[in-house]
């Protein structure tokens, strides 16, 4: 009589047990990964996450980490490499949940957010103990600082330059453009929709604000406040000047007459693919694209030139970057710093820069022959002419900058489609940044 209900009971209990054991099985699998408390030799486990991932870069970083672990047997490093397009979201979520994390890749784009939420540790007190810090360039330090405090050590710098199809230009008898006006005219001239050839590898999708902003800045070059480069010396935004209108008209022309119509939606990938597969002649990009170009294009078909200049013969240029920081909740900050200094040493950093295509952070590295020729030479040339190519710091400290990409992309697309006028767009952008400044000073 007891048998049947008991059996039912037991089977149901089994279900519960199964669910329970499954639940606990996982937590026990995690135990091994926590910093060890009881074992004899104290091994510190560092958890590290990268943001700008690609399988090839991850392999390079892993090789460096292995070298580091071979030198420091008491430190074990676990590298987390999420897919590129979801990495920043994952990092944020992990930080908000206070997940064990010691070293993280901070980007110029999100350093203000991390500082604001007190996620990252200021590194100023650590740098004294690092002998190589002396050769870290001023630009590298500036990219990684918020209000005089250093929050990460860049693993490479990004600086845009012009890539162009040397063979097409030669064929058409055009010189490499020096000004934006020349760039637009050359783009219009090279555009031949019937042959599926266009001038400019336009980017209207994510990251679309890059070109119009630098274009307007170049036109505003004589008026701009270099220390606060979204604003003019008179305190207005860069979009408030009459030159901004000229510049933006030129930008619309560049899209309408010199770029593939489809590019209104393009992001990084399409922009670069169009260039490598012979659809477009000009590309404004960071040096980490060099690797992709090298792999997909024949040597001699492409070359580089400095950033185009505005009517006053000047261009505003800026460096961006990402690098290694320490989380403020890390329990192994000393070990984390040790890892960062290793990865940021001239030797490791130069190696990563060469293979991945970034500008190295140590001044000593620029003496390396590698960076004095080929596509890197233009970047060096630009650095050597600081009066023509005026360096400024992008507005990474503004909280509003985080949303700016999206706002500029959507209003920019509406403008390019003819849904809104250039004037209205400038008004909108002007209001956005005026409000950004007001919010910042609150």
């Amino acid at each position: 009589m007891f048998g049947k209900p008991m059996k039912t009971w037991m089977l149901s209990a089994l279900t519960a047990v199964m669910v329970f054991t499954l639940t606990t099985a996982c937590s026990s699998s995690n135990d091994g990964k926590k910093p060890d408390s009881g074992s004899k030799e104290k091994v510190i486990t560092l958890r590290m996450i990268e943001s700008l991932t690609s399988p090839s870069r991850t392999a390079l970083i892993k090789a460096s980490i292995d070298k580091f672990m071979a030198q420091n047997t008491n430190i074990k490093v676990e590298l987390i490499s999420p897919p590129f397009d979801q990495a920043d979201n994952k990092i944020r979520t992990m930080l908000a949940a206070k997940q064990p994390l010691d070293v993280l890749e901070v980007r110029d784009l999100n350093v203000a957010e991390f500082v604001n939420n007190n996620y990252v540790e200021p590194l100023n007190d650590y740098t004294g103990s690092w002998s190589d810090f002396g050769t870290v360039t001023a630009v590298a330090k500036s990219v990684a600082s918020v209000k005089d405090k250093l929050y990460f050590i860049p693993n490479g710098l990004y600086q845009r330059q012009l890539f162009y199809r040397a063979d097409w230009l030669k064929e058409a008898g055009i010189n490499a453009p020096v000004t934006y006006e020349e760039l637009v005219n050359a783009s219009v001239k090279l555009t031949d929709a019937a042959k599926n050839r266009y001038g400019f590898s336009f980017r209207g999708g994510p990251g679309a604000n890059g070109v119009p902003d630098t274009l307007i800045q170049a036109y505003d070059a004589d008026k701009i406040n270099v220390d606060d480069a979204m604003f003019l010396k008179d305190g207005g935004t860069i979009y408030s000047s009459p030159e901004a209108k000229t510049a933006l008209d030129l930008y619309v022309k560049l899209y309408k007459e010199g770029s593939p119509p489809d590019s209104i939606n393009w992001g990084f990938q399409e922009q670069v693919q169009a260039f490598t597969s012979g659809v477009t002649a000009f590309l404004l990009q960071d040096p980490d694209v060099i690797q992709v170009l090298g792999e997909n294009m024949q040597e001699g078909t492409w070359a580089t030139a400095p950033m185009p200049t505005g009517p006053s013969g000047k261009a505003m240029i800026s460096a961006g970057g990402a690098g290694w920081g320490i989380t403020s909740h890390s329990e192994n900050k000393e070990a984390a710093w040790k890892l960062i200094t290793f990865l940021s040493s001239p030797e490791e950093n130069t190696q990563l820069s060469k293979s991945h295509g970034t500008v190295p952070i140590h001044s000593s590295a620029t003496e390396d022959e590698f960076f004095q020729k080929g596509p890197y030479k233009t970047l060096l040339d630009m650095t050597n002419k600081p009066d023509t190519f005026i360096n400024f710091k992008p507005p990474f400290e503004y909280p509003a900058n985080g949303q700016w990409g999206t706002v500029a992309m959507e209003s920019g697309q509406a403008m390019l489609l003819g849904q809104t006028s250039v004037e209205d767009t400038l008004t909108k952008w002007n209001e956005y940044w005026a409000k950004a400044k007001a919010d910042m000073n609150k």
């Binding site: 089977l11 995690n30 958890r47 399988p55 999420p82 897919p83 949940a97 597969s277 792999e295």
Partner: protein, 275 residues
């Protein structure tokens, strides 16, 4: 004459549909067999000038695809099996008994289908962190299981309603408990329905991306969709690797489908009859 025209039209329709459905697959397959530099070369090559297995070799060499396939299989199969187990228990009860709260429970199952999952992703992450389940396959197994319980219960309930209750009553008169009657007598009759529910669950688990990105940190625990997502880089979608990965990722589901096609149609037939 007339039926012949009709048959002709049908064949034409099927052929057109075939071309539209298969073309993307064809494009992916030949892309996976092209050398890197030919993928984006103009004019587009509709038949590779040069065949290579490099893309396949690459994804195993650089990207450790065997590990990801193993993880995906493990997670997808286990979660689907647990779903079937749990949903069978609940579906059977929902099909056979009327009790207080019956309607509300059915509603609760149905409402879960309306919830846009992304709202819950951040709180779910915190919950997993509290349970110490981050970076373990178990987090995915649990989430996938839970994600599919409502739909599987609704589906299996339909199949149960098809099976006459006299079947297990007879078994119970013979001295079986309800559960053993369920396991010994009804489940075998329901196998086709269970197979189709299982395959549905498996496909969902096999493809899930967002939770897998969030919950798993360790390279050795990553699943296939995450690895494929990694081929989308800053400047480049590695279409060689991506297409090779796609081809490989479709194989298990297609094989499963081909193998169980008879079951699925049979199973759904039974389920569909009840609607």
């Amino acid at each position: 004459m007339k039926p012949r025209i009709l048959t002709g039209l049908k064949v034409l329709y099927l052929a057109l549909h075939f071309v539209i459905m298969v073309f993307p697959l064809y494009w992916i397959v030949i892309t996976s067999l092209k050398p890197q530099k030919d993928i984006f070369s103009f004019p587009l090559q509709y038949w590779p000038k040069q065949f290579t297995l490099d893309n396949y070799i690459q994804i195993f060499k650089i990207s450790k695809f065997h590990i990801y396939i193993f993880n995906s299989l493990l997670v997808a199969v286990l979660a689907a099996a647990i779903v079937i187990f749990i949903a069978t228990l609940s579906a059977y009860v929902m099909a056979r008994f009327q009790f207080r709260g019956h309607k509300q429970i059915m509603m609760a199952f149905f409402v879960t289908q309306m919830l846009p999952g992304f709202i819950a992703l951040a709180p779910l992450y915190l919950l997993m962190a509290d349970l110490d389940l981050i970076n373990s396959r178990m987090s995915l197994i649990i989430c996938y299981t839970v994600m599919l319980i409502p739909f599987s219960t609704i589906m299996l309930r339909g199949f149960f309603q098809r099976v006459p209750s006299s079947l297990e009553e007879a078994a119970m008169i013979d001295g079986c408990s309800r559960l053993t009657a369920l396991l010994r007598v009804i489940i075998p009759v329901m196998l086709p329905g269970i197979a189709s529910t299982f395959i549905f669950a498996f496909v969902q688990n096999w493809n899930e991306l967002f939770m897998a990105v969030m919950f798993i940190d360790d390279e050795a625990l990553k699943t296939l969709p995450v690895a494929m997502n990694s081929f989308v880089m800053k400047f480049d979608v590695d279409w060689g690797a991506m297409s090779a990965g796609t081809v490989l990722s479709v194989i298990p589901t297609v094989v499963l489908f081909a193998f169980a096609q008879r079951f699925i149609v049979e199973g759904l037939t039974q389920g569909a009859e009840k609607g």
